[in-house]
Symmetry: C2
Subunit: 477 residues, 2 copies
Amino acid sequence: MDADILILTLVLFNCNWLVSSDVPRFVTKYADVALDHFNFVNNATFKLRYLVNDTFWNEGGPIFFYTGNEGDISLFAENTGYMWETAPEFEALVVFAEHRYYGESMPFGNKSLTDPKYSGYLSSSQALADYVDVINIVKKEFSATDSKVIAFGGSYGGMLASWMRMKYPAVITGAVAASAPIWQFTSMTPCDSYNRITSSVFAEMSPGCDRFIKRSWTSLNTVGSSDGGREWLSAEFKTCTPIKTVEDLKTFKDWLSDLYGILAMVNYPYPANFLAPLPAYPVKEVCSNFRNVGSSDKDILRSLFKGISIYFNGTGTAKCLSLVDSDKLGTESWDYQSCTEMIMPMCTDDTSTMFEKKVWDIDKVSNNCFKQFKVRPSVNLVRDLYGGKNIKWATNIIFSNGLLDPWSGGGVTYNVSKTAIAVLIPGASHHLDLRFSNPKDPVEIIEVRKYYKNVIRRWMGGWATMKKEVKTVFAAA
Amino acid sequence: MDADILILTLVLFNCNWLVSSDVPRFVTKYADVALDHFNFVNNATFKLRYLVNDTFWNEGGPIFFYTGNEGDISLFAENTGYMWETAPEFEALVVFAEHRYYGESMPFGNKSLTDPKYSGYLSSSQALADYVDVINIVKKEFSATDSKVIAFGGSYGGMLASWMRMKYPAVITGAVAASAPIWQFTSMTPCDSYNRITSSVFAEMSPGCDRFIKRSWTSLNTVGSSDGGREWLSAEFKTCTPIKTVEDLKTFKDWLSDLYGILAMVNYPYPANFLAPLPAYPVKEVCSNFRNVGSSDKDILRSLFKGISIYFNGTGTAKCLSLVDSDKLGTESWDYQSCTEMIMPMCTDDTSTMFEKKVWDIDKVSNNCFKQFKVRPSVNLVRDLYGGKNIKWATNIIFSNGLLDPWSGGGVTYNVSKTAIAVLIPGASHHLDLRFSNPKDPVEIIEVRKYYKNVIRRWMGGWATMKKEVKTVFAAA
């Protein structure tokens, strides 16, 4: 797998960077859902996990439904504070549904990803249909047949939330799709967008940092060109497995590239705990080590290591730097999705970003996918299923984007219809808006969170009022 | 299978009642489409037939796309004159796509319906996804990437046309869904609606005819209660296989019930050729034999036979009355669909229709389905997939209903949104509006056909203009 397309996973799967002690307890349940919702070859079902909290719920209130993304659902429940903080006011039932093939919702247990006959049922269409089933089950259990359902999701979960509203508007009244790059697909967004934005974030947070990182690739290549140099690199960066070959060096550089993207994504204004604890504005912190550095390659690389140590060894207890994500399963499932539907081209040229040149080579991706999973990418499937950039028919969706989020380039950044609206948050990174409130939240986050509540209130009350509201608020959009 | 749920099939599958000599020739093509569009278990594909005519097409024109229903696609191409007659004005490319598991589009040839491992891929979701693929292929072939696509369909084809717009609004700009009973499902429409309307049509076309038919069931039961009586019935009605048992008598009565529904459906104002040739207003013709009849059971049954002979033996050449539809395959595929997704409850009480009491017994249906196909009904699947009666979010659909069509009760008979509108045609039967023009067409058919063209023109030009138009035309709706 090309490392680039794992970025979305990495940040999401490990999103327990801030687990608030205020998270209300939820009840864990399991729904029997069809293995395949769109054919009748057999009646196989499997257990899909979902979490329910009815602390705030009163009959007539809505269901706040999180469309789980690529990871253990409890992580999203713990990290989507906005739903918990908003539920009391709406007297909402709160539900978090796990995405099939993640967490405990593995249709074939450990075998789930070993062969297309098991893995083949991992698709966004099937996941959305699972969620419809869970909603039906929950509605029945709570006698909430007439309750409106508001979908929430961040990142891939946000994509799913918006697609739920697009594909099942009778089931979902409205969707809050935070940092959802539904346009990060072939022919929709330039493939260098993600890397350009990441570079801008580094340049903006710490002027010159982008130039230092650009320079560091040369140092890595120079030092890494000899066996001795790679030995030095392994020791200096304390890699858990040594960088022996040029191919290992490439893996290391891919890991670094991904890391910069992740740092930009989680560049939150307060300390957060992501894999290892991170300080507020981690990009700034990392970059602070890149100033006043000697000009030799090894000087540069020593500073580089010092900088990234903030990420991988914030506690000072990490024994070595591992290039492999700890939770294999979730990552592997996303790798699979990146080999079937979620084909998000990533590239960069030599000059316009802080990264080394990268070409998007779909044939190479395809061959790697076949090698790993016996599947090949369906490049236009997402476009065909969900409309691509032609979604002016969509309604009742908030597409929010932090403009410091590398994924914002693939997000919906203009109003596509009167009620499918873009909310741009200048100072925010990846779905900061969905997180728990924090005293350090920038003012625009506080404001958009209030605005979302108004919009949801309008969704609850019907379209006519909403129309007026949007006209006023988004007159200039 | 309960005979009732075959009615939709019977009339559609054999809809070559008027083959106009004006049908332009089409080119027959085959698309390689995925056997399963929603999982990645394997890459199997099969050949889906579609018909293309580019006689009228000019670059920039729309694609008129018929979403094939349960039969050989050439029949629909020959019987959907409205598309052919409208294409020149719009310079439209005309495409008719065959529904999987009908006509030549059998994924597993003769085995296709023998086991769920073959039949399981017959579903509306898969069919819609096939159509998306065909549209992509046609657009590529004709360099028509930017051409808008207008979907057309009658009956189940109309359901599919409307669902195409609902599920793939980026692909389909608007849909003309003629006589599409998308609400003929559980908890959406009273199950006696179809039989009530059929009875009304008979009563209205020929006062007293409904009472005669009501009376005839008693005669059938009285005469049919003895072996000798059933022998008499077999001889009198010239059944191809004798009515030996009480069960045979029930089959015969089911066939008769279905026949009345079919006659109401095709009660066209001009002679048409459906199975056997039918005169104009066949209900009236059939009923004309039910006047001045003696009061004995056998008198009544002799007249009944004379009446229905118009249907089954219009040419006078039929050797016997067959209760089995001639084209087994299409019917069997629809039976299968009626056992999985297309669960359309049918019933009637004792008193309010001209039919005998019929109870909708889902358990019985389910058991029969399991016996025949090894599948069981998914009663709420259509609701979950397409929204059921909650479709106020739908846009750019014409739902037309002839008010003399038994299926109109399960159709959309009010405007569900500003641009998803109901067109009610008082004097029309089953999708008369989509047929070729005929001098005998009632004035309202001529008018709605003009109106459809205006609406399609608005769809082509965008929503703003359309909104105004609808406000004016449907102010009272």
